[in-house]
């Protein structure tokens, strides 16, 4: 029972932290609006500048931070559980890379300048393509090694095509725009982006969230899980397409944000007794915390330089990951 209690406490703490960071994200910004005023403006119908800033700039940014963070944390936890590999992360299936490629092509061809939603839509199309290729390569019999290898191949190819687009870029501005977009950011997103990504993310979350018990059974290997009544084809379908739906939508609106999906499940795993099913909710909340916190930080550290979110998560995430590796080594020796 104490284990259950500890789990509930952890989830409550993470939920509270997520709420605080969400409010912080709503109230931190160059406009310097007082907390009370900003909340009043958010809920009042007045058509003044403060309401405009709150509703059209800060609210979508905070919402996307929450949604993308939860997506990265949840999909990271599911993929690590499904592939039984602590190094798995949402980018592994090639989804982030092909979504980026789709977005880059939209910028490169000038489509994104002609039509604002061309970029996220092209990115989503890229994610769909990745998933179809990975699924076709791996087959339906659920071999996790084949999925990893197919994902690596798709990622490399998408990376190469992205480099080609940069290489052949007609002018330096397009190249710069591509580079900046790829760094990952939540700046200047609108409610349109929220409505575009939202439905895909919710579908993805439901698919991934239903996998808890299957992932627990998978702790004992895929054959033992199958003997316990787990339909491995269904698990593979839900894990792959669920990740594609939410991570594809996330990448489409924010660019690739690294390390969150890898590090967050790692940190939280020991705190939930290593049970894959319990890691899902905790990791979704943890991911939301990290992305919201990072997005607040980029506004505080260098408000005028437009520090990119993806840069910050990688700068903080990578050394932290090294520390985790170091700690694991100390425990082993």
């Amino acid at each position: 029972m104490t284990v259950n209690l500890r789990y509930r406490l952890l989830v409550a703490l993470l939920a509270a932290a997520t709420l605080v960071l969400f409010l912080l994200s709503l109230t931190v910004g160059p406009a310097g609006i007082a907390f009370g005023d900003s909340m009043v403006a958010l809920f009042s119908g007045k058509a003044d500048a403060v309401t405009l800033i709150m509703r059209d700039i800060r609210l979508p940014r905070a919402l996307l931070g929450l949604m993308i963070g939860a997506t990265l944390g949840l999909s990271g936890a599911v993929l690590q559980g499904y592939l039984r590999n602590p190094l798995a992360e949402p980018g592994l299936l090639g989804i982030s890379a092909t979504a980026s490629l789709g977005a880059v092509l939209a910028i490169y061809t000038g489509l994104s300048a002609a039509f604002a939603l061309a970029l996220p839509l092209a990115a989503l199309a890229g994610a769909v393509l990745a998933v179809v290729v990975v699924q076709a390569m791996a087959g339906t019999r659920g071999n996790s090694l084949l999925i990893i290898l197919a994902g690596i191949a798709v990622t490399s190819f998408a990376g190469a095509m992205t480099s080609l687009a940069l290489n052949l870029s007609p002018n330096p501005f397009a190249a710069l725009e591509i580079m900046f977009w790829m760094l990952g950011s939540l700046t200047d997103r609108s409610m349109t982006h929220v409505w575009l990504a939202g439905p895909f993310m919710v579908v993805g979350w439901v698919m991934l969230g239903s996998l808890g018990r299957s992932l627990d059974a998978l702790t004992l290997g895929s054959e033992t899980a199958a003997s316990m009544g787990i339909d491995m084809r269904r698990v593979q379908f839900l894990a792959v397409f669920g990740t594609a739906a939410c991570v594809g939508a996330g990448t489409a609106v924010s660019g690739a944000i690294g390390f969150v999906g890898l590090v967050v499940p790692h940190i939280l795993r020991p705190l939930v007794g290593s049970r894959p099913s319990r890691l899902l909710l905790a990791s979704a909340l943890g991911g939301a915390c990290v992305v919201l916190a990072a997005d607040v930080l980029v506004r505080l550290i260098a408000p005028e330089r437009d520090l990119k979110l993806g840069v910050l998560t990688a700068i903080v995430g990578a050394p932290f990951f090294l520390w985790l590796v170091f700690r694991a080594r100390r425990r082993l020796t």
Partner: protein
């Protein structure tokens, strides 16, 4: 009552035929030892019964075609102990054993008191209660094997398929396990276990199926399956045969002279 029957079962892996036209059946109350040299097809046989491999021929579970029933329904009839002792995450022993109840739980439901009782009984039978709160990945190989066996017992099915369940166990736990399987059979369940220890197979199993190169070579009570001639022909070993307390003792002594093999 026949729990499991197979007719003309053939399996090919990677273009090579591993099982050739196997026909056998397992009735309730039998403890069947599946014996044969490395690579004979014992694990393949167990895995095809579980629907983990595509096969030709017919496998009936409780009279119904194995390919027609769903994974979950099958999990209510057969528990499986895999040869690989895989535990991916640092979960407590109790949580591993509790996984055995998952086929019986409705989605998102918690364990009931009845489930808890089955889990505790499985842990008691495998003598793992003493370390039920320890992390399963930190146990020794033999302890881990007992935990995973308890997991399979917790599934509480009429038929248990175990792939080398005695490997890595100390003699007392080997004997305890064979006794336990015998008791399960006496309670009207069936156990099919692949074994390499011919002594254990001879002493504890009610029936042995000897497989060699994908074919059933002998099928019957241990006394008729384990003979000097079959051991020479199939394993290429000379063995000591004796009797103690009315049970057969078989102990491989030395490699057989190749010239006499198969004679």
């Amino acid at each position: 009552m026949t729990l499991l029957s197979s007719t003309g079962l053939s399996v090919s892996l990677g273009g090579k035929q591993v099982l050739h036209d196997l026909t056998f059946s397992v009735a309730a109350g039998e403890f069947v030892g599946l014996i044969g040299p490395n690579g004979a097809g014992k694990s393949t046989l167990l895995r095809s019964v579980l629907g983990l491999l595509p096969f030709a021929g017919t496998i009936l579970l409780d009279g119904k075609s194995a390919t027609a029933i769903g994974a979950r329904q099958r999990a209510g009839k057969i528990a499986y102990l895999a040869q690989e002792r895989e535990i991916a995450w640092d979960v407590p022993v109790e949580a591993v054993v509790a996984l055995g109840r998952s086929p019986h739980l409705p989605s998102f439901a918690a364990l009931t008191d009845a489930d808890r009782a089955v889990i505790d009984e499985a842990m008691r039978r495998m003598d793992v209660e003493a370390f039920s709160h320890r992390i399963a990945t930190e146990l020794s190989g033999g302890e881990k094997a007992r935990v995973l066996t308890a997991r399979a017992l917790a599934q509480d099915t009429p038929l248990l398929l175990a792939d080398e369940p005695t490997a890595g166990l100390d003699p007392s736990h080997q004997i305890a396990l064979m006794r336990l399987f015998g008791n399960l059979a006496r309670d009207g369940r069936s156990v099919v276990a692949s074994l390499h220890d011919l002594g254990l197979a001879a002493r504890w199993c009610s029936r042995l199926i000897l497989i060699d190169r994908g074919r059933i070579v002998a099928d019957g009570p241990p006394e008729t399956v384990l003979t000097q001639e079959t051991l020479r022909a199939v394993y290429g070993v000379e063995a000591f045969f004796g009797d103690a307390d009315g049970a057969r003792i078989v102990h491989p002594l030395d490699l057989a002279d190749p010239g006499s093999a198969g004679s």
